[in-house]
C-alpha cells in the first residue's frame, strides 16, 4: 500500500428472498416466465387494491438480519418511497425509511492468502422492501419505445447497507463472498446474480494524503455490476479514475454532488449516468395500507436459535475442535452447506477429521472441479469415504493401495470391501513377510554385509523385488523385519 491515498468503500446489496409468492400479493416469484404473466391487480397497482405482508418474507428477513448480527427493534413499519418510473406501477415503492426492521450488524471477513487483515465490516441496516418491474429499452439510441414487464414487481427484497468500512476491491469482494455464503447457508436466497437475486451497488471515494492534510474525493455510486469479478474490476477502475480526476481537477467532496456511474463490463469502464433532476425528494411517509410489525424478545431468540451453526462458527469449530488448519477449514466451509455436511459425516464415521479433510480437499474437490460436478453427484458417499479411511487406519487397506481403491470405488461405485476384494488385497501375515525377507536376504549376502557394515538403508534396494513378489506388502514393515533378522543373526 504505497499509494498516496486510502480507498473508502461501502456496499448496498439487494437480495431477493426465497419466497414462493410476492411480498404483498400471491403471484409467483418464479424467474424467467413470459413477460406480464405473473401479475395481478395488486402488483399492477390497480385502483382499489391493497397489500398484505407475506409472512415468510418477513421471517426470512428476520433470519438474515440475525445472521448478520443486526439488532431487531420491537417495532417496525413500512413507508412509501415516492418516485415516477414506468416499472413502478403505484408511483411509489413500499420500503422502510426511519424504522427499519434491523440495524447495527456486522460481518467478519478475512483472506486465506493474507491479502488483508481479518476485519469486521459494520452493517448499517437491513430492511424489507418490494422490487420494481423491468423496462426493456434501446440503451444506445434511446429512441424506440420502452417495454414494461411487471413480473418482478413486488418480489421481496432485503436491502443490506454496509458502513464504508472496506479499503480495497479485494475486501469488497470478500464481503460479498462471505455474505453470499451466509445467505445460501441459511437458505434465505439463491443469490443468483444472473437472475438478479443478488444486486450490488458500491459507494467509493478516496482519502488522499496531501501536504495540506487528508482530502476526500467526491463519492461515486457504481451500478450495473453483474458479478463479483465485475465489482472488483469496477472498483479498481473507479479508484484509478478518481485519483486521476483529482490530480487533474482537484475536485473535493462537496465540490460536486454524489454522482452515479454505470459499469460497462465489456469496455471495462464506469460511465456517468444522467441524474434524475428532482429524484432526491422521495416524500417518504408511513404506508396507511400496511400495519406495523411488533416482535418480542422471545420470538427473536427463537429465530436466532433456529439458525444453527453459521459459517464463522463452523470454521471456529473445525479448527479448534477437529484440529483442521485455518486454511483447510476455510476451503471446506466456503464450499457451502452440502460439502460441509459431507465432511462432517465422513469425519464422524472414521473419527479422523484430518484424514477426511485431506481426501476431500485433495482428491474429491479436484475431481469435482475437473468434472464440473457437485458433491451431491459424487459417487462415493460420505459414509463410504469414512469407511475407507477407517479401513486404512486399521490396516485392512494398505496405504499404498488406498488411491487405487478410491479410484475404483468412484469409477465402479464399489464399497470398500468390494474394492479391497477386487484389487486382490488381503492382509499379509508376519510369517509370510519374514519368509520373504529371509529368502531375499539369503539371495543377497552383499546387502546383509552392507547393513552389518552400518548402511541400514541398503535394505531399501530389496523393496522393489519384494513388492514384485507380493504387491500387498508394507515396505516399512518389510524393512523392519529384514533389519531384525540381520541383527539377530538369523540370516
Amino acid at each position: 500500500m504505497s499509494k498516496p491515498y486510502t480507498t473508502i468503500i461501502g456496499l448496498e446489496v439487494h437480495v431477493q428472498l426465497a419466497t414462493k409468492s410476492k411480498l404483498f400479493c400471491r403471484c409467483s416469484t418464479q424467474f424467467g416466465a413470459e413477460p406480464n404473466t405473473q401479475t395481478c391487480p395488486v402488483c399492477i397497482g390497480l385502483p382499489g387494491t391493497l397489500p398484505v405482508m407475506n409472512r415468510e418474507a418477513y421471517e426470512l428477513s428476520l433470519k438474515t438480519a440475525l445472521a448478520i448480527n443486526c439488532e431487531i427493534p420491537a417495532f417496525t413499519k413500512w413507508d412509501r418511497k415516492q418516485y415516477y418510473y414506468p416499472d413502478l406501477p403505484k408511483g411509489y415503492q413500499i420500503s422502510q425509511y426511519d424504522l427499519p426492521m434491523s440495524s447495527n450488524g456486522y460481518l467478519e471477513i478475512s483472506d486465506d492468502k493474507g491479502a488483508f487483515e481479518p476485519k469486521r465490516v459494520r452493517i448499517t441496516r437491513a430492511h424489507l422492501e418490494e422490487d420494481a418491474g423491468k423496462s426493456v429499452h434501446d440503451e444506445v439510441a434511446g429512441k424506440a419505445d420502452s417495454e414494461i414487464d411487471l413480473n418482478r414487481t413486488g418480489t421481496p427484497l432485503l436491502e443490506i447497507v454496509s458502513e464504508p468500512d472496506m479499503r480495497s476491491s479485494g475486501e469488497a469482494k470478500a464481503f460479498l463472498q462471505e455474505l453470499k455464503l451466509l445467505l445460501m447457508h441459511i437458505a434465505v436466497s439463491d443469490c443468483n446474480m444472473q437472475e438478479g437475486s443478488l444486486r450490488v451497488d458500491a459507494n467509493v471515494n478516496l482519502h488522499i494524503d496531501t501536504p495540506q492534510g487528508k482530502i476526500a474525493t467526491p463519492i461515486v455510486e457504481i451500478k450495473n455490476m453483474n458479478s463479483f469479478r465485475a465489482v472488483e474490476r469496477a472498483l479498481d477502475y473507479e479508484v484509478e479514475r478518481q485519483y486521476r480526476e483529482w490530480q487533474e481537477t482537484g475536485k473535493k467532496i462537496g465540490d460536486a454532488p454524489k454522482q452515479t456511474r454505470g459499469w460497462d463490463d465489456v469496455a471495462g469502464v464506469t460511465r456517468g449516468q444522467r441524474s434524475k433532476e428532482e429524484s432526491s425528494d422521495y416524500r417518504y411517509f408511513p404506508d396507511p395500507d400496511l400495519v406495523p410489525v411488533v416482535v418480542t424478545k422471545e420470538q427473536i431468540e427463537a429465530v436466532r436459535n433456529s439458525l444453527g451453526e453459521l459459517p464463522a462458527d463452523l470454521r471456529k469449530r473445525f479448527t479448534e475442535q477437529l484440529g483442521l488448519s485455518a486454511y483447510d477449514a476455510n476451503v471446506i466451509v466456503n464450499q457451502g452447506r452440502a460439502l460441509i455436511e459431507y465432511f462432517e459425516e465422513s469425519a464422524q464415521k472414521c473419527g479422523d477429521p484430518k484424514a477426511a479433510c485431506n481426501w476431500i480437499t485433495q482428491d474429491i474437490l479436484r475431481y469435482l472441479k475437473d468434472n464440473e460436478q457437485t458433491i451431491a453427484e459424487f459417487p462415493i458417499s460420505a459414509a463410504t469415504l469414512g469407511g475407507m479411511i477407517s479401513a486404512i487406519n486399521d490396516g485392512q487397506l494398505p496405504k499404498p493401495r488406498a488411491k487405487d481403491a478410491f479410484e475404483i470405488m468412484r469409477s465402479e461405485n464399489l464399497s470398500v470391501a468390494e474394492a479391497i476384494k477386487k484389487l486382490g488385497i488381503e492382509q499379509v501375515d508376519e510369517s509370510a513377510i519374514e519368509d520373504l525377507c529371509r529368502d531375499l536376504l539369503t539371495k543377497n549376502p552383499k546387502i546383509v554385509a552392507d547393513v552389518r557394515g552400518g548402511k541400514a538403508q541398503a535394505v531399501s534396494s530389496l523393496i522393489g523385488q519384494a513388492k514384485k513378489l507380493n504387491p500387498n506388502i508394507d515396505p516399512g514393515r518389510f524393512r523392519e523385519i529384514c533389519l531384525v533378522l540381520i541383527e539377530s543373526g538369523k540370516v
Binding site: 391487480p41 399492477i44 385502483p47 387494491t49 415516492q82 415516477y84 403505484k90 416524500r283 396507511p288 400495519v291
Partner: protein
C-alpha cells in the same frame, strides 16, 4: 303507496312472500329513474339490462326453491368508486373514464353474494374529493329537495338516488363526511362504519387511513340491513377488522335503556345555523322523553380537526393518485401531439440559446406523465395532489404531516375521554342546510369547512350516522349526527331507530 316508496325491509318481505317479483321491483325503480333522473342526475350509468337479468335470475331461483342471499332481488345503487368487474369504475374522473377493473371490490362481491340487484353506478366528486358532487368530471347531481341546490358530496349521487326513490338502498364512501353530509343534506339515513368494519379492498383510495364505505337508505332498519351485508373481515385488506358482524337488522328495533348522550359544546358554536341548531336541540328533547340522560362533553381539539384532515387527506391522496400516470391504465395524452409540442419547445429554447431551460426541459416520458395527469384530473384533485406533495416534500414533513398525525391522536383521545362518560355523542351533521350549486366553487377553504362536524369521526376511526331531524323554513332537510365508540354500530343504529320511530321526518318525500 307505490312500490318505490316502501322501505327495503318491507320490499324484502314482499319478495319473500311472492307478493312481488324482483323483476317487478327492479322495473319499478328503472321506470322511476327514467322518469326523474334527467332532473336529478344521480346516476352515471344505469345498468338496466344487467339488473333485469339479475332480477330474473333471482325470481327463477326463488321459484325453484333454491337458496337465496340476504338481499335477494333488492335493487342497490353503488357509488362509482367501488370496483365491479361487470361495469366501469370511473371515480367521476376523466382519468378512469374507460377503466374496467378485472376484479370485484369486497363490498360489491358481498352484494353479489347476497343476490342484490346492482341497478346502477352513482355520481360523485372526482375521486371522492369534494362535498358537493360538483367535482364530477361527467355531470352535476342536484338535490331532490331543491334542484338548484347541491346534494352534498362526495356521495351526492348515492344520497340523491335514495332521497328521490330511484333506489331503496345505496352504497357510499366517507373520508371526511362524504356519506353523512349528503345524507343530511338530502334527508336520508347514512352511516359511516368504524374504520375497518367494511373492507376497503376494491374501494379506489382517496385517503387510505380515513376512507370507509357504508350504507345510505331511507330508514335506519334498511341501513342496518345493508351494513350487515357489506361488513366483515377481508384477508386481502390488512386494515380490515377481524371482528364478528352482529345482525344489526334484527336488533335495530330494540330500544336502549339508560342511554347516556353527550353534547359537545364545540359542535354548537358560532357559525351554526339557528334553524339547524333548533332542530338538533329538539331531537335531544326526544331522547330525553325516552329517559336518556344528556350531558355536556368537551372535545377540545375538535377545532383542529379540519386542519388536521386537510393535511393528512391530501398527503395520502397525493400518494394514492400517483399511480394514475397513463402507463398501465387510465388516461394517456395524445403522444404524437405531445412529442410535437416538446420538439417545438426545444427548438425555440435552442433558438433563444436558453441552456438552463433546455436542461430543465422534460424528457418525453416525464412530459407524457405530466400531460396525461393534467388532462385526466380536475381542478380540485390537482389542488389536493399539490397540497399533499407540498406537505410531504423535503423540509415540511415534520411541520405538517407528522404534526397532523400527533394532533390526530389528541382528537382520538378527546373522544376516548368523552365516551368514558357517555354512550353516544350527538351533533348536527353540517352547520348549514344544502347550499346552492356553484355557491362555493371559488372558495375551496369554505368548502372544506363544511366538514367541520364530520371529519373527527374519520380521524378517530369512529362510526357515525346521519338521520333526518327536521326541515328548514325553505323546506331543506336537516341532519342529526350520532357518533359512537369503535365497533358500537349496533347501539348507534338502535339509538337512531328510537328517534326515527318517534318522528316522521324520514317519511317526507321531495316533490320532483
Amino acid at each position: 303507496m307505490s312500490l318505490v316508496e316502501t322501505s327495503a325491509t318491507e320490499q324484502l318481505e314482499r319478495l319473500a312472500s311472492g307478493d312481488i317479483t324482483a323483476v317487478e321491483l327492479t322495473q319499478a325503480y328503472l321506470d322511476r329513474i327514467a322518469a326523474i333522473d334527467g332532473k336529478v342526475g344521480a346516476f352515471l350509468r344505469v345498468e338496466s339490462d344487467a339488473a333485469l337479468s339479475q332480477a330474473a335470475d333471482v325470481d327463477a331461483r326463488r321459484k325453484a326453491g333454491k337458496p337465496l342471499g340476504k338481499l335477494a332481488g333488492l335493487p342497490v345503487a353503488v357509488k362509482d368508486v367501488l370496483c365491479d368487474q361487470s361495469t366501469l369504475t370511473t371515480c367521476g374522473s376523466r382519468m378512469l373514464e374507460n377503466f374496467r377493473a378485472p376484479y370485484d371490490s369486497t363490498v360489491v362481491a358481498n352484494l353479489k353474494a347476497a343476490d342484490a340487484v346492482l341497478i346502477g353506478r352513482t355520481n360523485m366528486d372526482e375521486f371522492a374529493m369534494g362535498g358537493s358532487t360538483e367535482n364530477s368530471a361527467f355531470q352535476l347531481t342536484r338535490n331532490p329537495w331543491d334542484l338548484e341546490r347541491s346534494p352534498g358530496g362526495s356521495s351526492g349521487g348515492a344520497a340523491a338516488c335514495v332521497a328521490a326513490e330511484m333506489a331503496p338502498l345505496s352504497i357510499g364512501t366517507d373520508t371526511g363526511g362524504s356519506i353523512r353530509q349528503p345524507a343530511g343534506l338530502c334527508g336520508v339515513v347514512g352511516l359511516k362504519p368504524t374504520y375497518g368494519r367494511v373492507s376497503r379492498y376494491g374501494l379506489v383510495a382517496f385517503a387510505s387511513s380515513l376512507d370507509q364505505a357504508g350504507p345510505l337508505a331511507r330508514t335506519t332498519q334498511d341501513a342496518a340491513l345493508l351494513l350487515e351485508t357489506i361488513a366483515g373481515h377481508e384477508p386481502r385488506d390488512s386494515t380490515s377488522l377481524d371482528k364478528a358482524v352482529p345482525e344489526f337488522s334484527k336488533t335495530v328495533t330494540q330500544p336502549l335503556k339508560g342511554l347516556k348522550i353527550g353534547l359537545a359544546c364545540e359542535h354548537f358554536a358560532a357559525g351554526l345555523d339557528p334553524e339547524v341548531e333548533q332542530a338538533v336541540r329538539e331531537a335531544v328533547k326526544v331522547y330525553e322523553l325516552f329517559g336518556a340522560t344528556v350531558k355536556e362533553v368537551s372535545l377540545p381539539n375538535s377545532k383542529y380537526a379540519v386542519a388536521t384532515y386537510y393535511v393528512i387527506a391530501p398527503c395520502e391522496a397525493s400518494s394514492n393518485l400517483a399511480r394514475y400516470d397513463g402507463v398501465h391504465y387510465g388516461h394517456r395524452t395524445d403522444e404524437k401531439a405531445m412529442l410535437a409540442d416538446l420538439a417545438m419547445e426545444r427548438k425555440s429554447l435552442e433558438a433563444a440559446g436558453d441552456q438552463v431551460a433546455l436542461r430543465r426541459l422534460d424528457s418525453s416520458l416525464v412530459r407524457m406523465y405530466r400531460r396525461s395527469r393534467s388532462e385526466g384530473f380536475g381542478a380540485e384533485v390537482k389542488r389536493r395532489i399539490m397540497l399533499g406533495a407540498y406537505a410531504l416534500s423535503a423540509g415540511y414533513y415534520d411541520a405538517y404531516y407528522l404534526k397532523a398525525l400527533k394532533v390526530r391522536r389528541l382528537i382520538r383521545q378527546d373522544f376516548d375521554a368523552a365516551f368514558a362518560g357517555v354512550d353516544l355523542i350527538l351533533s348536527p351533521v353540517t352547520a348549514q342546510t344544502a347550499f346552492k350549486i356553484g355557491e362555493m366553487v371559488d372558495d375551496p377553504l369554505a368548502m372544506y369547512l363544511v366538514d367541520l362536524y364530520t371529519v373527527s369521526a374519520n380521524l378517530a376511526g369512529l362510526p357515525g350516522i346521519s338521520l333526518p331531524c327536521g326541515f328548514s323554513k325553505a323546506g331543506l332537510p336537516i341532519g342529526l349526527q350520532l357518533m359512537a365508540p369503535p365497533l358500537a354500530e349496533e347501539s348507534l343504529l338502535r339509538a337512531a331507530y328510537m328517534y326515527e320511530n318517534a318522528t316522521d321526518w324520514h317519511k317526507r318525500r321531495p316533490k320532483i
